[in-house]
């Protein structure tokens, strides 16, 4: 165990933690929900093909949908039950756009459908391990939801030497990773060991913020006999959970803008992902549930719950005693980077680690004022950007100007909005600007494609016209030849007759 005390990176903020609400509450199992809603479209737009029909019986852990590539993460049924419907249903996306969803009515039986034989992971090769992680449908459980197998494969190819495990959990309110580290430290450590072997890394570092002493103790204890796993204590500072900032805090190295951390030989994974990897490789079990913190001033009894993927948010609220009178807004994830949930019937997906019901004081829907040029956002920005300048450009729709000020490097962490005394919705401006830039880029790609296609069409039409012309000429020539031959024959006949 080693403690790092100097300021770990530039910027950052100390938001009020609110973690005391759920810090002490042991992870509980949510009763099996009556219906499960599995969205068949991922956040990045990738579509999954359902492998079951309406009326089919599905078992817990059965593969029910898969995509065309490794970037499309396979879905497994979290319950035993029957597929009752496949239709458009609300998803956890903040837009509230409905996506094709597999609806499963669950039965009382809660046992695993098949007898999944435990395996000895030591007998698996590196590629087999990564393939099994892909097949288990494991994604980064820290929030981004990137397929873990794809990340591990890339790390193996690039010869990553250090696996950095993110136990930062810097978002206020959330304690699911903290509780997971305390209650399942040995499983987390076992998962880390397996991942280290899968990518051929030399060592693993587990970084935990210093406001989680019990997790630090539990992990240090679990990892004490393992030489190449060490626990690092990092100061509590938001956004410590960001990959770049965690690397900077633990190793002192800076990931260059636009680069990936594997360029430095470091791969970052979340603690919950490590545990899911352990379950997949040791017990042959797909990712069908995850730990979620349900908290906020609008929740009667905040809790940490093990939730089957696809459970509607309303079931979680029910399990936590419902909403208080003052509850105003539902948020998926933490209060800093979380997204508004469009409806209480929204199902949770693999990347949601928190469910917050915020009350009036927590929502902070104050009127915003003009920028004071106080510079607090500049000192808070962990990426060293000037948020007020970027917002000024984006406000007048000058998105290129915002890009010149480094919009592409913005993490959308919300530290600037948090400190702004004028309550300017800075991070909202950046989300909007980023969306506009993406839309413009895809439109430009489409225009280029259209141009290419018209050129190709023109060439094709020219070719066809030329072929037609050639055919016509050939026919005409043949006709002429025939006529000439006929003439010659006639002349010969005449001559013969004349003789």
């Amino acid at each position: 165990m080693q403690t790092l005390f100097a300021k770990p990176f530039r910027g950052g903020i100390h938001p009020t933690g609110h973690k005391e609400r759920t810090e002490q509450s042991q992870i509980e199992k949510l009763p099996t929900p009556k219906r499960i809603f599995l969205g068949l479209q991922q956040r990045n737009g990738t579509l999954l093909t359902p492998l079951v029909k309406v009326g089919d019986y599905v078992g817990k852990g059965q593969l029910v949908a898969k995509g065309a590539s490794d970037m499309a993460v396979p879905l497994h049924s979290p319950v035993n039950g029957t597929v009752v419907e496949i239709r458009d249903y609300v998803s956890a996306h903040p837009s509230g756009i409905k996506i094709k969803t597999l609806i499963i009515k669950s039965s009382e039986d809660n046992s695993w459908s098949e007898n999944y034989p435990p395996i000895n992971p030591d007998t698996l090769s590196q590629d087999e391990m990564i393939q099994r992680i892909l097949d288990a449908g494991i994604v980064g459980l820290g929030g981004a939801g990137f397929p873990s197998g794809v990340k591990l494969r890339l790390a193996k190819q690039k010869g990553v030497h250090t696996l950095l495990i993110n136990g930062g959990e810097c978002e206020p309110y959330l304690t699911c990773d903290d509780r997971l580290m305390q209650e399942h430290a040995s499983e987390v450590v076992a998962g880390i060991e397996l991942m280290v072997r899968a990518i051929g890394a030399k060592e693993a570092l587990v970084a935990v913020e210093d406001n989680k002493p019990r997790s630090i103790e539990a992990l240090s204890h679990a990892a004490s006999e393992i030489e190449n796993i060490s626990v690092k204590v990092v100061p509590s500072l938001y956004p410590m959970g960001s990959e770049r900032h965690l690397i900077k805090a633990v190793t002192g190295k800076t990931v260059a803008p636009g680069e990936l951390s594997v360029a430095l030989g470091i791969l970052v994974h979340n603690v919950a992902t490590a545990r899911a990897v352990y379950h997949a490789l040791r017990f042959n079990r797909p990712l069908i549930e995850r730990v979620i913190t349900v908290s906020g001033g609008g929740i009667e009894q905040p809790k940490n719950l093990v939730v089957p993927i696809g459970t509607p948010v309303s079931d979680l609220l029910t399990a936590c005693g419902g909403l208080t009178m003052s509850a105003q807004r539902l948020v998926a994830g933490g209060p800093m980077m979380g997204q508004v949930i469009p409806s209480p019937y929204t199902p949770v997906d693999k990347s949601i680690g928190g469910l917050l019901a915020l009350n009036e004081q927590e929502v902070r829907d104050d009127q915003s004022h003009d920028c004071l040029r106080c510079g607090r956002c500049v000192s808070a920005c962990p990426m060293g950007l000037m948020p007020f300048q970027m917002a000024a450009h984006s406000r007048v729709s000058d998105y290129e100007g915002a890009q010149d000020y480094g919009l592409n490097n913005c993490l959308l962490c919300g530290a600037c909005s948090y400190v702004c005394p004028s309550r300017i919705p800075l991070v909202q401006h950046f989300s909007h600007a980023r969306g506009q830039i993406n839309a413009q880029r895809s439109m430009a790609q489409k225009s280029a494609l259209a141009r290419k296609l018209t050129d190709a069409r023109k060439q094709r039409l020219d070719r066809e016209a030329a072929a037609k012309q050639a055919e016509k000429e050939a026919k005409a020539a043949a006709r002429k030849k025939k006529a000439a031959e006929k003439k010659a024959k006639q002349a010969a006949a005449k001559a013969a007759a004349g003789e």
Binding site: I97, R423, H432, M443, A450, R451, L453, T454, R457
Partner: protein
């Protein structure tokens, strides 16, 4: 003698002036506005005529003269309008922004006449003659040329709805 000198002088004068004129024609040539060529290269080249001009070249000429706004090209969309406005150094007005549309063929009613296929400048429609035709929505620019060509009335323009991966955060209303 004088006559010979004057003939010589005029010959010299004529020759040198001719040389200067010849050089000037090459060196000081005024080319057609090169911006027209650049703009034409930027336009989709579908010759769809939605801007009200005969084709993309004519539209480019009018845009350079300032008679046509850079956002006149529906197939090019916002991105093209933005880049052309930046190229010409003009402001883009926000008004007149249409909802993007795509062609859609009601396949049950398609007779397979192939007129829409011939009308599409982007090869976004596929199908053989006397067979059902369909639109590849990822390629369709919504230029509406096929709409007029369809003899069955089974081809309509439908608005493009936001998908999870195309939806954008709206601009914050305050500040």
């Amino acid at each position: 003698m004088q006559m010979i000198i004057s003939v010589f002088v005029f010959l010299l004068l004529g020759g040198s002036l001719g040389c200067i004129l010849g050089w000037a024609q090459k060196a000081l040539k005024v080319e057609g506005d090169s911006r027209v060529d650049d703009l034409e290269a930027m336009l989709p080249g579908g010759q769809c005529g939605q801007c009200g001009e005969a084709g993309c070249r004519q539209a480019a000429e009018k845009m350079v003269k300032g008679e046509l706004a850079p956002n006149c090209c529906p197939p090019g969309g916002k991105a093209l309008a933005g880049s052309m406005a930046a190229f010409l150094g003009v402001e883009l007005s926000d008004e007149g922004e249409d909802i993007p549309v795509r062609a859609f063929i009601n396949e049950d009613e398609c007779s397979g006449c192939g007129r829409c296929f011939k009308a599409c400048p982007f090869d976004a429609i596929v199908g053989a003659s006397r067979q059902m035709h369909t639109v590849m929505s990822s390629v369709c620019t919504g230029c509406r040329l096929c709409e007029k060509a369809c003899s069955q009335g089974c081809l309509e323009m439908v608005p493009v709805l936001d998908q999870i991966n195309t939806w954008q955060w709206p601009k914050p209303q305050v500040a």
